[in-house]
């Protein structure tokens, strides 16, 4: 009896695999991760800087406001340059700045903020850089302007005067 069960089972097993592969072939699989504008923001859970509380993206972003997500780190030299623009932007009522502290050391980040002031409404702690990957970031600094849960502008590299004006205009 044994002699017949095994071949039959194996044959069925391989036939199933065949059909799965066959179906798989017909699915298109060209999907490139694109950094399209107007893309929905990723949904994620992250730790809040220093307090280590968990927070989800739904709790952070509300559709009626503008948000600037800014990826920064204390070791990042250009971040220092753009900090003044962030401080300027933080005085705007209609924009909230969400910081993502990228691959940083808690202590050093604290010193950095004490020295330059804190423009951020909330800071998320991205210890191993996975959050930045979810956002599709290329490096630090990088900023995303968000409205109605969509990325409406992506800025690679530090902010400058022109960009600041553009952001203010968009948020009006």
């Amino acid at each position: 009896m044994k002699f017949k069960i095994y071949p039959a089972l194996l044959t069925i097993f391989f036939i199933i695999i065949f059909f799965v592969f066959y179906k798989g072939l017909q699915n298109s699989n060209i999907y490139t991760p694109s950094a399209d504008l107007k893309k929905n923001i990723p949904s994620f859970k992250a730790k809040i800087f220093l307090t280590n509380e968990k927070i989800s993206s739904e709790q952070i972003f509300h559709s009626d406001k503008f948000y600037l997500v800014n990826i920064w780190a204390s070791w990042c030299v250009p971040c220092r340059d753009e900090h003044i623009f962030l401080m300027n932007l933080s005085t705007q009522k209609n924009i909230k700045i969400i910081g993502i502290n990228y691959k940083d050391n808690n202590e050093k980040a604290k010193i950095y903020l004490n020295e330059l002031n804190n423009p951020y409404d909330k800071i998320l702690f991205d210890e191993n850089g996975t959050l930045a990957i979810e956002w599709g970031a290329y490096g630090v600094p990088e900023s995303f302007l968000i409205h109605k849960n969509k990325i409406i502008k992506k800025i690679i590299g530090p902010l400058n005067e022109d960009l600041l004006l553009e952001i203010k205009k968009l948020a009006e």
């Binding site: 095994y6 194996l10 592969f21 072939l25 999907y31 070791w75 030299v77 250009p78 290329y138």
Partner: protein, 625 residues
């Protein structure tokens, strides 16, 4: 012209297949002596495939753009070396390479198997011809490398620049010798099973072929890793990419098979297991080809997606699977049960244990690679399985694996005891102490790392001791196991001690840490034959005052226009310093990634040792384990 000759050679090669089958069957039935004509025909077939292959190479060298393959993958400004290597750097050409290896191996097999029985040789040839015919039809029908374009384009589309690399130029031929070489193991196992020919002598004879495939596969994988490390610029050497996985799976199966065949050669047990492993090794190779070439998986090795190709290989693959199942179940005679039960403490048991682990690793890789396909078909959800999956499932099981690898070879066949084996415990204590000392000072997970490093050190010391005590006896086994311990140690320490800095710098800026300074001095531009290069000059100042200059490049290739980032790597005996730069769009910043990676050279070296051990085993006459 060369294309035309190439194409007709292919057709002739296919026709020779039918001649071979005809004469083989005739010879199988009638005479008692092996018909010499058949060997000549096999050579003729190999010759036709070579002519066809040379035809394609010539078309590439002359940049004959009337040939579609050349047009798609070459360009007049490409250096000659890469024109030649471009021949197998694409789907069509690489399949021609498949055919070349298939026909070469069966020809060599017939030459080398004169002492074997006539029926066995003919049947092996027949099974191999089934595979060869399948691939001939596949090449001619769906992936003809000699398609003609009219009007003839003036210029080709060029070869993907990341493939223009010396390591990658020789990677496919070497890898294929191993990867496709497993076909001969498959064919001869099926032949031996059908004829009930499996014996100690057969094991000895087939071991040679297993070793050859295994050596080339190991070297091929090594070359691929080296290429990934230098060219892809992530600083890693293994990414668990589907294409890497499909080369690793046959390697794991082949390694288990290599161990089992030793048991078979000694004691004529585990025959079913050997048959199953031989079949799965080649099936996994084919399955890998299907996964990669059909475009069913996304990976760094993107070949053109053509559902027709995928379907052909899929059907062909399953025909072979069912054929082997049929032969296995209806012809395979199992030995009497007694000889299959082993005493718990013996060499056989330890080999069997290692085999289980190997099969476990194989399953992990297989599931990780194919699971996304299943999930997508069943729930149309797209996922990708990444390194964390493999690391979590494989690393813990490396510990017992390494220990068994150290102790196993110390045991005797049939029955062993632990007298006079006190040094085994002594070495374990030494390794444990050493690892504790190393790991304690570091800020990493203590328990897991200590146990891992201990088991790797254990294998390292045990094998090292054997070099002194046993000398040249059992050298090949000892060398490969030693190489493996070195590999694991190097990878572990590489992981533990690697440091990385990612930052954005402008020209003239300096990045400081407590140990070194990275000074971005300047950039210069350079025009090369087929690309423009932007070369950054970085000065790394260590705290002890020593400086080093690293020059990573951004290359803008003209055909096709692709920007690649070339890492600059300063290698020495102990550490690699690895730097890449990338342009940040619309800004004058460059994104700089600087990595210090210890023991990189040792990773490559240990894999070389492993394959060198296999080479020694191939050339030694006496049976040793």
């Amino acid at each position: 012209m060369a294309s035309l000759i190439g194409f007709y050679s292919l057709i002739f090669g296919l026709c020779v297949s039918f001649l071979i089958i005809f004469f083989s069957i005739k010879n199988f039935k009638n005479s008692h002596i092996f018909d010499k004509k058949i060997i000549s025909f096999t050579f003729l077939q190999f010759f036709f495939v070579i002519v066809s292959f040379l035809g394609l190479i010539l078309s590439f060298v002359h940049s004959d753009f009337s040939n579609q393959t050349v047009f798609n993958h070459s360009h007049t400004t490409k250096p000659l070396f890469y024109k030649i290597s471009g021949t197998w750097g694409n789907h069509e050409g690489s399949l021609l390479l498949w055919l070349l290896v298939l026909t070469l191996f069966i020809f060599l097999f017939l030459l080398k198997s004169k002492n074997q029985s006539k029926k066995y040789r003919i049947l092996t040839l027949l099974f191999q011809q089934i595979i060869i015919i399948g691939f001939f039809i596949f090449v001619i029908k769906t992936s003809n490398p000699f398609n003609y374009i009219f009007p003839v384009p003036k210029e080709g589309l060029g070869l993907n620049p990341i493939l223009q690399d010396p390591a990658l130029a020789i990677h496919p031929p070497i890898l294929y010798l191993g990867y496709v070489g497993t076909s001969i193991i498959f064919s001869s196992t099926l032949a031996a099973t059908s004829l009930n020919y499996i014996s100690k002598e057969w094991a000895k004879h087939i071991k040679q072929w297993i070793l050859i495939s295994w050596i080339f596969l190991t070297l091929g994988i090594l070359l691929g890793s080296i290429w990934a490390y230098y060219e892809l610029g992530w600083g890693g050497f293994w990414f668990w990419d589907p294409v890497e996985n499909v080369s690793l799976m046959p390697w794991l199966a082949l390694t288990s098979l290599l161990h089992c065949i030793l048991v078979l050669e000694k004691r004529l047990v585990l025959t079913s297991w050997v048959v199953v492993l031989s079949i799965s090794t080649f099936t996994l190779s084919m399955c890998g080809t299907f996964l990669v070439r059909s475009g069913i998986l996304n990976s760094v090795h993107t070949f053109a997606n053509d559902p027709e190709r995928g379907l052909f290989i899929l059907i062909f693959l399953f025909c072979l699977v069912f054929l082997s199942l049929f032969i296995f179940f209806f012809f395979h005679k199992t030995q009497n049960k007694d000889s299959n039960s082993f005493f718990w403490l013996s060499k056989e048991t330890s080999i069997l244990i290692n085999n289980w682990f190997m099969i476990y690793f194989l399953s992990v890789v297989l599931i990780g690679t194919t699971y996304p396909i299943f999930l997508e078909v069943i729930s149309s959800e797209k996922i990708s399985v990444g390194p964390p999956f493999y690391n979590k499932l494989i690393i813990p099981f490396l510990i017992p694996f390494l220990l068994a690898m150290a102790i196993g070879p110390k045991l005797n066949w049939i029955k062993s005891d632990l007298k006079k084996k006190f040094y085994l415990i002594l070495f374990l204590i030494i390794s444990l102490l050493l690892s504790v000392i190393i790991i304690k000072s570091l800020n990493i997970n203590f328990l897991v790392n200590t146990i891992l490093v201990t088991s790797a050190f254990y294998l390292f010391f045990i094998t090292l001791r054997d070099f002194f005590i046993k000398g040249f006896k059992n050298l090949s086994q000892n060398l490969t196991h030693f190489g493996f311990s070195l590999l694991i140690l190097s990878i572990l320490f590489n992981n533990i001690f690697s440091t990385e800095i990612i930052t954005n710098l402008k020209i003239g800026e300096t990045f400081k840490t407590d140990k070194y300074k990275i000074i971005f001095e300047n950039i210069e531009q350079k025009d090369e034959q087929n690309f423009k290069a932007i070369i950054g000059k970085f000065n790394i100042e260590n705290s002890d005052g020593k400086t080093e200059i690293l020059k990573p490049e951004l290359r803008i290739y003209n055909q096709p226009t692709i920007v690649t980032s070339e890492a600059d790597i300063k290698t020495n005996f102990l550490v690699d310093k690895f730097i890449t730069m990338n342009l940040v769009q619309n800004q004058d910043y460059f994104n700089i990634r600087y990595q210090i990676k210890p023991f990189m050279l040792w990773i490559w070296f240990s894999v070389l040792l492993i394959s060198f051990g296999g080479l020694i085993s191939l050339f030694k006459k006496k049976y040793e384990v």
